[in-house]
């Protein structure tokens, strides 16, 4: 085991794990950040996507020893109020079904929008095709990214916010 200092969602966290432990399992087993999901373990599905210094990265293939002082951003840290344009658009367009892959989808999409604030269908397909969704909510993922780009471009509240509605209890 070895000590590692990690910059995660704006905080410095310390963990004591084997150096080859993938970042995914450090997040999930050591840091109680379970929003990042395990899907394949070989970088083939994208469910574990986080940002390392803004770059979308498969955390299941990233040994913790290689992370160093890079800034790690997970779904939990994407937006303090969980009101990132993608999160708003996802609610507005009812994007998730089972929802398991969606943290990875959103993190990949967030990196795309940062680089390309107004992506075309082809841009989206290119950036998102490594993120699998077995429920195949793909058409809504694509539409959701377009909608998020609109929301980000016009800094007003999404007109169909569900803010007033009670949300499903955490844990259901």
């Amino acid at each position: 085991m070895s000590q590692f200092r990690l910059h995660i969602n704006g905080e410095v966290r310390q963990v004591d794990v084997a150096p080859d432990t993938p970042l995914l399992w450090v997040l999930r087993d050591s840091l109680d950040l379970a929003g990042t999901k395990y899907g394949c373990g070989v970088g083939a599905c994208g469910a574990c996507t986080v940002h390392l210094n803004g770059v979308p990265t498969r955390s299941c293939m990233t040994p913790v020893a290689t992370v160093g002082l890079k800034k790690v951003l997970t779904i939990e840290g994407l937006d303090a109020q969980a009101r990132h344009p993608l999160q708003q658009a996802w609610v507005e367009l009812d994007v998730p079904q089972c929802g398991y892959c969606q943290a990875g989808q959103i993190m990949t999409a967030a990196a795309l929008l940062k680089e390309n604030p107004k992506p075309s269908d082809a841009d989206i397909d290119g950036a998102m095709s490594g993120n699998l969704c077995r429920c195949a909510t793909y058409l809504r993922i694509r539409a959701g990214i377009h909608r998020a780009a609109e929301i980000a471009a016009v800094p007003v509240k999404s007109p169909v916010s569900r803010k007033t509605k009670p949300q499903a209890k955490e844990g259901v």
Binding site: M1, V17, A18, D20, T21, W25, R28, D29, D32, L33, A34, G35, K37, Y38, G39, C40, G41, A44, C45, I75, E76, L78, A82, Q87, W90, V91, D94, V95, P96, Q97, C98, G99, Y100, C101, Q102, I106, I124, D125, G126, M128, N131, L132, C133, R134, C135, A136, T137, Y138, L139, R142, R162, T164, K165, P166, Q167, A168, K169, E170, G171, V172
Partner: protein
């Protein structure tokens, strides 16, 4: 047809009977209105919560919480169940929330007689009881207001969470919590006419989306409890195989590994974290002794195929036999025959299977995403050796289910590991474990014979099916005396066409791998078989595939209607874009009728591209059209992944596929355009999680035939076949 009466009363169930019972008769399936909580219990909570039965909690802040006993695997039950209750409660939908109910017989699915989610039953099974639950609560609230205002209840009405009086009186439900709790629970509450629905039938956003976008949604794999260890399990390649060699000491030497446990069906490594457990497993260098069952040790894809073929050739369990096939053949203007085959399929849920179990002296608790909360409680009690009443099941969200999470393999193993180790154990299958663990859609072969008369009408159909039996594999069903596994022939035995001379037979073939329910079950292959062969008949008759079907579906107005709607919306009969060809198929399953038109082109390399799928759906009265659209899209893509890529094959007794590189699923860049058109219907609700899958593969294969003249009789689609004979 008496199944509907026994369905609610008795377990174990015959799933097929139940599904049959459900088709078109959900309204008749009322469980009788047995309120699960007595008025006295309700009074105990009277001061702050109105909870007249197990499904509802209403609090003074006007919030309505609906408890959902069905499992959420993406199909939207956490929204549909509250909608049913809220409609009759006249709740303000903005104040309605939902909670997952515990495993508790009060939440039994009336179509199954147990708390289980599958067979596209949730809405069908709960359409009446959940509305009754809402209506009963509404009547109690009205009675409470009537008493306060000293008016007859008949003069009051309700609207969006309020009771309204004739002179403008208005009181919010929340203010009636205490008084309503004193009211008797009505035994026969009055239900609304569908014309008065304000919530049902309206596109409604899901209640569980926010949690699924901010990292707070909790799946089984996220469960935690103090002192928990993580386990990984190498399952024996088949039952009876034993470890021949393993280095336990090396595994234990891995930092974080706490224990190595050999079970009758595999070897598990328990560790402080997942990564240590995996490292420990690698260090084991486990080798299996496969000599116990040489035929299983040698199992190959070609053997599977040969066994299924043998089953079909010897098919002697007769599901349907009517007319005279011999005469029909003799008198036919044309006869044709064809052999079709599909492979085993894995479900490949995005969330690999897992279960956290904690067995203590006289009690046990599990946390898992299961489609069977009730059966899980029973199984854990048996494995842990504790009374069922002392088993708590925490049903989490499911990261995909598709039938796979109706099985208990992972729950049994986790419970055993906890019992042996004395610790809370979270067992996680890695992707390869998940894919190799069996519980596959059965591989299946069918041998068809068909005949046409001089007018090109179908006069004879014979189908001999060879496949493993889900009923036998299920553990809770039995093959009936007829020898026919009804799931192996569903969609064939009840085929919808006007064909006077018909024989459908089943020959059981058991190559070995455990089979199981897979989204749309027998329909997943039988619709491909039948709707492709019908297309062959249409071609042999020189008829348009749509017109051929319509002409032979004289007793199937709902199938005709969806075929017409899908064809009209797709522009059937008009020329598609250059190089694009259309195929059509339809099927009834799970109480719903779906037709699909696929538009496909085939590249020079033989690789097909599906450009658009137009679906028409008649699923009776609807709860949430938005969910219907999403489920049909999802079901189409599930079918398309299988048609293009899906196969589980064996070599030397082992599964050849291990991850998404060799078991590919559809990607965003491969998505067709999808249109879903609903037939307005006042029929009883049908299922919607599965019925979109069956017509997809034949619609695509029929389009490929239109494009290339090559009839695909095997899935997944082999592009090599399309290179050679491509003509367009």
């Amino acid at each position: 047809m008496d199944a509907r009466h026994t369905a609610s009363a008795s377990a174990p169930l015959n799933r097929r009977q139940l599904l049959k019972a459900g088709a078109g008769s959900a309204a008749a399936l009322s469980i009788g209105f047995a309120l699960p909580l007595s008025p006295r219990q309700a009074q105990a909570q009277a001061s702050n919560t109105f909870a007249p039965h197990a499904w509802l909690r209403l609090t003074p802040d006007n919030r309505v919480t609906v408890l959902c006993g069905s499992s959420e695997m993406g199909q939207g039950v956490l929204t549909a169940i509250p909608m049913l209750l809220a409609e009759e409660l006249d709740a303000d939908w903005r104040l309605v929330g939902v909670e997952q109910a515990p495993a508790d017989g009060r939440y039994n699915n009336p179509m199954f007689g147990m708390q289980a989610t599958g067979g596209s039953t949730t809405v069908r099974a709960h359409w009446t009881p959940l509305r009754q639950a809402g209506a009963a609560a509404r009547e109690m609230l009205v009675a409470a207001a009537a008493a306060q205002w000293q008016l007859p209840a008949a003069q009051l009405r309700t609207e969006r969470g309020h009771v309204l009086g004739p002179a403008g009186q208005k009181v919010a439900y929340g203010a009636l919590v205490a008084a309503a709790s004193q009211q008797a629970v009505p035994s026969a509450p009055k239900l609304k006419a569908s014309a008065d629905f304000k919530i049902l039938g309206r596109p409604t956003r899901r209640l569980d989306t926010p949690a699924k976008t901010n990292g707070t949604a909790r799946y089984g794999i996220d469960a935690q409890v103090e002192g928990m260890v993580i386990a990984v399990l190498s399952r024996a390649p088949f039952e009876g195989a034993k470890p021949r060699r393993m280095d336990e000491a090396a595994a234990r030497a891995v930092k974080g590994v706490v224990q190595v446990i050999t079970l009758p069906f595999g070897v598990a490594v328990l560790a402080q974290g997942y990564w240590s457990a995996q490292q420990g497993r690698q260090a084991l260098k486990l080798e299996w002794d496969l000599s116990a069952k040489p035929e299983q040790a040698a199992l190959s894809a070609s053997q599977v195929s040969a066994l299924l073929q043998q089953g079909a050739e010897q098919a002697s369990a007769v599901a349907v036999d009517q007319g005279n096939l011999k005469d029909a053949s003799a008198q036919a203007a044309k006869t044709l025959s064809a052999r079709y085959e599909v492979p085993y399929l894995a479900h490949a849920c995005m969330e690999p299977l897992n279960c956290l179990a904690w067995v203590q002296a006289d009690r046990a608790e599990v946390w898992t995403g299961t489609q069977g909360s009730g059966p899980t409680q029973m199984v854990v009690a048996q494995v842990a050796g504790v009374p069922q009443a002392n088993v708590k099941v925490n049903t989490s969200l499911l990261g995909g289910g598709f039938g796979r999470r109706f099985a208990h393999d992972v729950t049994i193993a986790a419970t055993l590991l906890s019992k042996i180790s004395g610790r809370p154990v979270k067992l996680i299958y890695d992707r390869a474990d998940d894919m190799a663990a069996g519980f596959y859609r059965p591989a299946s072969v069918v041998q068809f014979e068909g005949a046409l008369d001089a007018q090109g009408r179908p006069t004879m159909l014979r189908a001999d099916v060879g496949s493993p039996s889900i009923m036998a594999a299920s553990g809770f069903m039995k093959i009936p005396e007829s020898g026919v596994d009804s799931m192996a022939v569903e969609g064939l035995a009840d085929q919808p066409y006007d064909i006077a001379n018909l024989r459908i037979a089943y020959g059981r073939a058991e190559p070995g791998p455990q089979v199981w329910f897979w989204r749309s079950v027998g329909h997943s292959q039988n619709a491909f078989f039948l709707e492709s062969f019908i297309d062959e008949m249409a071609h042999a008759a020189g008829a348009d595939p749509l017109q051929f079907r319509l002409a032979a579906l004289s007793k199937q107005p709902r199938l005709q209607a969806v075929l017409r709607l899908a064809a009209a919306k797709a522009g059937w009969g008009k020329k598609p874009a250059k190089g694009v060809y259309r195929g059509i198929a339809a099927a009834e399953s799970f109480g719903s009728f779906v037709a699909e038109v696929a538009e496909v082109s085939v590249g020079k390399d033989g690789v097909p591209k599906v450009h658009r799928v137009v679906a028409a759906v008649d699923c009776g009265q609807t709860v949430n059209p938005l969910t219907i659209q999403h489920q049909v899209e999802s079901a189409i893509c599930y079918g398309l992944s299988a048609a293009l890529y899906g196969k589980i094959t064996h070599k030397d007794g082992r599964v050849e596929q291990s991850n998404f590189h060799d078991y590919p699923v559809l990607r965003l860049s491969e998505m067709p355009k999808i249109e879903v058109h609903l037939v307005a219907s006042q029929e009883a609700p049908g299922g919607i999680g599965e019925p979109g899958t069956p017509p997809l593969a034949p619609a695509v294969a029929n389009a490929i035939f239109a494009a290339t003249g090559v009839r695909l009789r095997q899935l997944p689609i082999d592009p090599a076949l399309l290179v050679v004979k491509k003509t367009g």
